[in-house]
């Protein structure tokens, strides 16, 4: 039995369905991210776990107990908000102590736990400050400590880093991961930033339009996106339309050129499929192994991105980009030069067609 279970959860608002048919099992100690664009239902799902929203149907279980209709103050779930939501009238220490104060814990225990928490977030000397005297990053760490101080069954984080500067975002991200590992607390993290989700999570739930698109480890999500949506949302995939020349041998026709997929697929010959190619899997004019795919095109432009150089190549209608690692002796292809790109067969991903429109 999983520690957090969401079964057939659905949430309808007056005018729209925010979440539909949501099924997820989160194991004890696992770090799961809900990833998707704004309005995809990820925050609504999180708020249903916290108890701020009641599902229209379905059940939510925490540690085996049905909490679907339990009010938020009885759930023992810690939440960190995007806007920190620290109580402005209380010091840092009072904020962290809040959950224990309302639970009428003994004074000594509270003091001890607050000190422990302040050390955990590396702000041991700031207990007497007020929130308005802290930076955004410090406020969010205090909010984290406040949520953890009640020793919650589950920690929920709702875009906790999106109000912060890029630099602090990365360092605080690592800190959150370290703290989560140390405490071994089951964590659900909502974000629209795929890099954040990749670097933090054990598993990622990609969501769009209230539905789960794909659930998997960051590795699976990144390397084997199932749908066009996931492919476009995670990373910088090249998406192409191809016609099936021979389903059994995985033969595809891309704008007049032939490539092979690694495996046969269940499509009819002559049908159109969406495929994806990863920029980092493509080489410039490879060794010519027979198992490799080749595509010819004209160079549009090259962009220097630091450690990698991205080249954009026009086939007939579509444009493919691929990445080359930077090195000082690199000779870059020039614009309008004709080149041949090569990539292994398993770099060709066959995607499910989306019912919903794909956001670029």
């Amino acid at each position: 039995m999983a520690f957090v279970e969401l079964h057939q959860v659905q949430k309808n608002f007056a005018t729209a369905t925010a979440v539909e048919n949501f099924n997820l099992d989160v194991e004890r100690g696992e770090f799961v991210s809900f990833l998707g664009p704004s309005g995809c239902g990820k925050t609504t799902t999180l708020r249903m776990i916290a108890g701020f929203e009641v599902p229209s149907s379905g059940t939510i279980r925490l540690n085996g107990a049905d909490v679907t209709n339990l009010p938020p103050n009885k759930r023992n779930v810690g939440m960190v908000f995007q806007s920190y939501a620290l109580f402005p009238n209380m010091t840092v220490a009072e904020n962290i102590a809040f959950g224990m104060t309302v639970a009428r814990k003994p004074k000594e225990e509270i003091t001890k736990r607050v000190d422990e928490m302040l050390r955990l977030i590396h702000l041991p000397q700031l207990g007497n400050r007020y929130p308005y005297q802290l930076s955004g990053g410090q406020q969010q760490r205090v909010a984290l400590a406040r949520a953890l101080a009640i020793q919650p069954q589950v920690l929920l984080l709702d875009e906790p880093l999106s109000a912060l500067d890029a630099k602090i975002r990365v360092s605080l991200r690592q800190e959150i991961r370290a703290i989560q590992r140390t405490l071994g607390i089951t964590t659900i993290y909502v974000t629209h930033d795929q890099e954040e989700a990749m670097s933090l999570s054990d598993r990622i739930v990609v969501m769009s339009n209230g539905r789960m698109e794909q659930v998997g480890t960051p590795f699976e999500i990144y390397n084997f996106p199932k749908t066009q949506f996931v492919a476009s949302f995670v990373g910088t995939l090249n998406q192409l339309q191809a016609r099936v020349s021979d389903a059994a041998s995985g033969k595809l026709d891309v704008e007049g050129q032939t490539i092979y997929a690694a495996k046969p697929f269940e499509k009819m010959t002559g049908e159109t499929v969406a495929i994806a190619l990863r920029p980092e899997m493509i080489d410039l004019d490879g060794s010519g192994e027979s198992e490799e795919n080749h595509l010819q095109g004209t160079v549009e432009d090259t962009t220097f991105l630091g450690s990698i150089v991205r080249t954009r190549v026009r086939l007939r209608d579509s444009i493919i980009s691929f990445d080359t690692f930077n090195n000082p002796n690199l000779t870059l292809p020039r614009a309008s030069e004709k080149i041949t790109m090569s990539f292994p067969r398993d770099a060709v991903l066959i995607l499910e067609q989306n019912a919903a429109p794909v956001q670029a």
Partner: protein, 299 residues
Amino acid sequence: MAQTAVVTKSGAAFTLPRVRTIFITWLGVIPFFAFAFLFLLLPSSSLFIESFQDTQGNFTLANIVGLFDEPIRSGYIASIEISAFTALVGGIFGFLLAYAVTLGGLPKWVRSSYVTFSGVASNFAGVPLAFAFVAVLGRTGAITALFKNVGINLYDIGFNLYDFWGLSLVYLFFQFPLMLLIMIPSLEGLKPEWREAAANLGATQFEYWRRVAFPILLPSLLGTMILLFGNAFGAYATAFALTGGRLNLVTIQIGAQIRGDVLHNPNLGFAMALGMVFIMFVCIIGYTLLQRQTERWLR
């Protein structure tokens, strides 16, 4: 020729010779300061100076000491009592009204009609306000008559529109709305996340109000009540139109003094006015300090 830029930061706007620049820069504010001097500072400073002089123009503290003698003393006490009472009642019920229209879960039109009405009522003071209450609760007023029809004479059972409680009832007509108008932004400044965070940490609705919402609102609640106090304390027209000068308030006493030196000591009259300004000044300082606290929190 020495050139200097008048406008800094994003480049020179007008470049003028230095001396003329300074002169012209200050020239622009002279009308305002002249006006403020003639019609604000000169009259009030003359009250101030006269308060510390005897009739021969010698310095004295006798007038200030005289404020603590009858009948001035009881005038101040009556004014402070009515101001404190209406500030307290107006503050509490005005706050409840503000709460009801913002967080009470009522339809939107309730809020908008209350806000518009409060704008009217907080400015609807003085003679017409007094007349409105006389028309309904005076000796021959509509409600008084209504009660008479069912056999109750309000004035026999202790009600009197023209005494302390009656005037308080009238003052509340502009106290509630002022409280409402100032508290609505404060109540709307309570972030929903605070409520959620409190619930999330195990607090009940009551505990959220006791430990979070109320403490956050307290400075602006107190500050606004101080403002209400000052609002009632300086009111003259309503009290005069209602009681015709029978009630012994400071403002009424000053009015009588202006009409014809009832204290037989003009300088004592000025001191009485100065005492009012002093109390109002303390009120405004208190209000500003408390408001600043709230702004720091809600930033």
